[in-house]
Amino acid sequence: MSALEPKIVAFVCNWCTYAGADLTGTSRIKYAPNVRMIRLPCTGRIDFMLLLQAFGKGADGVIVSGCHPGDCHYTAGNFHARRRWTVFRRLLDFLGVDLRRVHFAWVSAAEGAKWAALVNDVTAQIRALGPYTDFPQRLDGRPQPAEVA
């Protein structure tokens, strides 16, 4: 992968999307290798801060995905997550964060093909947008020398 390839971080739930991505693999479906998956118990557990942390550490795009509404392993985690994303998206948009770099999806454990299509589509979109240089970076947890000066 060349340095110009976009880095995409995917925050996914353990029960649906992670299993769905597993199915993509066992089904031998090829998809863009740009995505780094981070498995969390539930979409309800995905703090909006994680998205900022991903961008701050150099992600060019973020995917958040979990069980379809009604299918949550914990009954209602994804319903709560959905409300949180709705207001968080509005805040990001108001702040001028590029919403084309933040993608939300429902991918069930049976939707291996949907996962591959999603990742391919998001990767293509973000590749077209180029690296996300607007966002302040923190590579080692400390302010960069240029910022201190």
């Binding site: 801060m49 709560h80 959905r82 994303w85 805040l91 964060v97 939300f104 999806a105 923190r138 400390r142």
Partner: protein, 268 residues
């Protein structure tokens, strides 16, 4: 002003409250500072004018104020809403507070119970004023790069003093996320990413709870327009979920509840 002082004196003399929290003249004209009146004689220091803007409900959660017992609070409309929201979040029990609500014509309404406060709040105007709405629209209509530049400029001035947190009546967590350091969610130093993260987390933790008193931006020594962030989230919660905090004693935090048919056209 006289009505306020008389009422405060009466309440303290009768032993109905042990403390009156109100406003006193500040260090210079055009400023007011909070004032804690413990005896009827001290009530003469109370003032009321257009500079009395700080939301005094903030002080109710302080252990020093709790130690007094029952407290009377000089209240603006947003103070009443803060009290209701605190009660709805189980942070304020019945009998702890008497609100001294100063109406537009300078009269003082004594609201001794949460139910009385709820009734008074029901009479207040709701929603954004035309000017507030226009301001949100103006920023939202800017091209994305300009919006980003505007907020980057605002956050660049943030010095992480957390005055916004201290001034907020609903930022009462004994241990805030900023104090969590394993992992360190919000960096201690004031760097661009950390400033962005702090201001986003502050706004998000108040989404669906903020009663839009504007104390955060009033308290900000750098004059950041933090109230805009809260307002845009309040507006979103209002339009998407039909929820408005601080209007009733009902527990209905919009982000801790849901409807199966909530909007989701942005989710694939």
């Amino acid at each position: 002003m006289d009505a306020l002082r008389t009422k405060a004196r009466e309440l303290l003399a009768a032993g109905a409250v042990q403390l009156v929290v109100g406003y006193a003249a500040g260090s210079e004209p055009g400023r007011a500072r909070p004032c804690f009146v413990r005896t009827p004689a001290e009530a003469d220091g109370l003032i009321w004018n257009e500079h009395c803007r700080q939301n005094l409900a903030t002080y109710l959660q302080k252990p020093e104020v709790r130690a007094f017992g029952r407290v009377a609070l000089v209240a603006r409309p947003s103070t009443l809403r803060a009290l209701l929201q605190l009660a709805a979040e189980s942070q304020l029990g019945e009998g702890r507070v008497v609100a001294l609500f100063v109406t537009d014509d300078g009269a003082v309404a004594e609201l001794p119970t949460l139910a009385a406060i709820e009734e008074a709040v029901a009479q207040l105007p709701r929603g954004l004023t035309a000017a507030e709405h226009q301001e949100l629209e103006r920023i939202a209509a800017l091209p994305r790069a300009e919006r980003w530049a505007f907020w980057a400029g605002e956050f660049a001035r943030c010095i992480k003093c957390y005055a916004c947190r201290a001034a907020c009546p609903l930022c009462y967590c004994a241990r805030c996320i900023t104090e969590a350091n394993q992992p360190q969610w919000i960096p201690v130093s004031s760097d661009p990413l950390g400033n962005l993260e702090w201001n986003v987390v502050r706004a998000m933790h108040l989404a669906g709870r903020c009663i839009e008193c504007g104390s955060c931006s009033d308290a900000c020594p750098e004059g950041l327009r933090l109230d805009l962030l809260n307002r845009v989230l309040a507006e979103e919660v209002r339009t998407q979920f039909g929820a408005e905090p601080g209007l009733s004693l009902r527990k209905d935090y919009a982000l801790a509840s849901f409807r199966p048919d909530d909007k989701q056209e942005y989710i694939r």
